[in-house]
Symmetry: C2
Subunit: 364 residues, 2 copies
């Protein structure tokens, strides 16, 4: 095994592609360790810039800007999975990019992701490749209805998806996804969604936080609860699965793995992975001494991972759109950490902040 | 009672005078609430600038810079007690300065501070005003030896102090403090130093964290331990004292109150107050959901105070000078939060970071 690169000493700079709330919380976590953050994002006034040591505002295909950015940072990471692969490879010529190209390519494409899971022997929803109305019709016949047509790329929070209840809807659905390469996913009969936030260090060690149980509203995460309420046997399986996926991807950093718990059998079925810190891991800021954000920056900087141990039970509630208008009331709650993301306009569906409520730990 | 100003909404900017680690941690805490920070400091490359939204590098007597700074912020606070009073009053013409002038004037001058405490009926060490060798000789006769000669202004971490064991040392001691206006303090026979971090909001509500027991090395805080080990009766008295001082100063923000616990009697004697967040309150970052830094920014912004409730026991150990070189080892400790301040050179005696170790709460 080749020698590992030395950890980046305090004072080093971590470049982050993306300037949203995840980049913001990453920058704050890095600062706690004496590490600097340089945010790269296309939007002026991005929220992460308010807390970062340096900011580059430029397009993801601006070669000169990327070159200059790479020269000013010691390592590059990202806060969203849809970083163009060209951007990542261009940067990788000059500076380490963590997590690496494989994680991005698997996570960016639902078909590649499903095939990867299948290759690993990990259960997923039944799925089929869809390239036109013909293949969609065949897929519907195989998988049955109801099913969901999802574009292979660039979908999140329910975007780029269409539910199909009847085989006659094939061509309507195909139009609805703009005839983009897609997959058809069969419905999974699940009783809950849980997620594991797993970290993997440069040396291959892994650390998984306790799984959260997640509730959604309008396809957007609304509530994460830890502990999940599932017995340790189920939780241990979930952690092991996440660690296996991270190892197979030779992953460096924090990854979110969303899992369905099948009704009755409690079999675990991977929904999707996110090669980044994850909304369902925000509770770790209050529930653990080392949050998912710090954990990610540790991994990316080649530092030892922190213990993922939880000192409290926690629920994390997203503040979507006008929910955040209640900040004065929310700020008075005891045993709660209020987070507002410094975004200007509270558009409907926009994640404006979150609040984590903790209570004494009830289970090991 | 006049109407209170409305709380500053998320997105507002808090100006902070001073760019050290306290300013850094204040900026990070403000960011959690969606508030922006503008740091004003004379030194280039100040550590707080790495995490702040904006920075002004200028001298504290640069009138044009202060004017421009005031125009860009919604409120001004500070991270050190030796802000020149002229600077504070100049800013106060344009923008609220919190805490206000009275807190600064009391905390900046040991004689004023002692007289203030005496006026409040709060016990202090015996003291006398010293303006020359003659008054020092008289003071030594009154107070006895050993005693400590301390300059009235600009002393911290044992600087500007001289222990006197014998009345014949009067003129040597007077030379040692550069003939600066001073006070002579008698020794207090104490079994421990404890401190209370108290917050007072714009509406006059107060919130005090559990007292910490503090241990020093070479006059610099080395360890803070919570709970203090003293019975609730003693701790309640300490909290009440701190709240009384804050109220009397019409204080807005977080204040550190250092108290000696007299040997045997356990009577509380005020050592000094710091009109700012305090090193002995760093444990609140891991031990509470709302840290002293967030609490200060809430108060200054006119927000409701957070609950000072503690969810864990904690010890906070300062990393002084080369202590911080052990960061790789310290980063592996479970149940610990490591903080490095982003400072360049680890000079002896320089505060480079701290580590807070938590454990389940053992007392209410």
């Amino acid at each position: 095994m080749p020698d590992l690169p030395a950890p980046l000493p305090p004072g080093s700079t971590i470049g982050v592609l993306g300037g949203g709330q995840l980049g913001r919380m990453l920058a704050m976590a890095a600062a706690r360790l004496g590490l600097r953050t340089h945010i790269y994002c296309p939007e002026d006034n991005c929220t992460a810039a308010q807390v970062a040591d340096a900011v580059t505002i430029a397009a993801y295909d601006d070669k000169a800007a990327l070159k200059a950015f790479a020269a000013q940072v010691d390592v590059v990471t990202y806060e969203f999975e849809n970083v163009p692969t060209d951007t990542a490879s261009m940067l990788a010529q000059d500076v380490p990019v963590r997590p690496g190209a494989r994680a991005l390519s698997v996570a960016q494409d639902r078909l590649t992701e499903k095939n990867f899971m299948q290759g690993l022997g990990v259960a997923t929803a039944p799925f089929a490749d869809v390239t036109d109305v013909g293949s969609l019709t065949t897929a519907l016949a195989d998988i049955g209805t109801p099913a969901i047509l999802k574009t292979r790329r660039l979908g999140y929070d329910g975007k780029g998806q269409m539910r199909i209840d009847d085989t006659t809807q094939a061509s309507t659905a195909w139009e609805a996804v703009n005839k983009q390469p897609s997959i058809l996913e069969g419905f999974v009969d699940f009783e809950a969604e849980i997620s594991v936030i797993v970290a993997r260090g440069l040396d291959g060690t892994t650390a998984a936080y306790d799984p959260a149980r997640n509730d959604h509203e309008n396809h957007i995460l609304s509530l994460s609860t830890v502990p999940s309420g599932y017995p340790e046997t189920v939780e241990a399986k979930a952690r092991t699965l996440a660690e296996k996926i991270a190892a197979e991807l030779d992953y460096v950093g924090v990854m979110g793995v969303e899992l369905f718990v099948a009704s009755g059998t409690r079999k675990l079925i991977v929904n999707e992975i996110a090669p980044r810190v994850h909304n369902s891991g925000h509770w770790t800021l209050e529930g653990c001494t080392v949050s998912q954000f710090e954990q990610h920056m540790r991994a990316v900087a080649g530092w030892p991972l922190g213990s993922p141990q939880r000192h409290s039970d926690a629920t994390m509630t997203n503040l979507i759109g006008s929910d955040a208008d209640d900040w004065q009331q929310l700020a008075t709650e005891p045993n709660a950490g209020l987070h507002l993301y410094g975004k200007g306009e509270a558009r409907p569906g926009r994640k404006m902040g979150h609040i984590t409520r903790i209570s004494p730990k009830t289970s090991a």
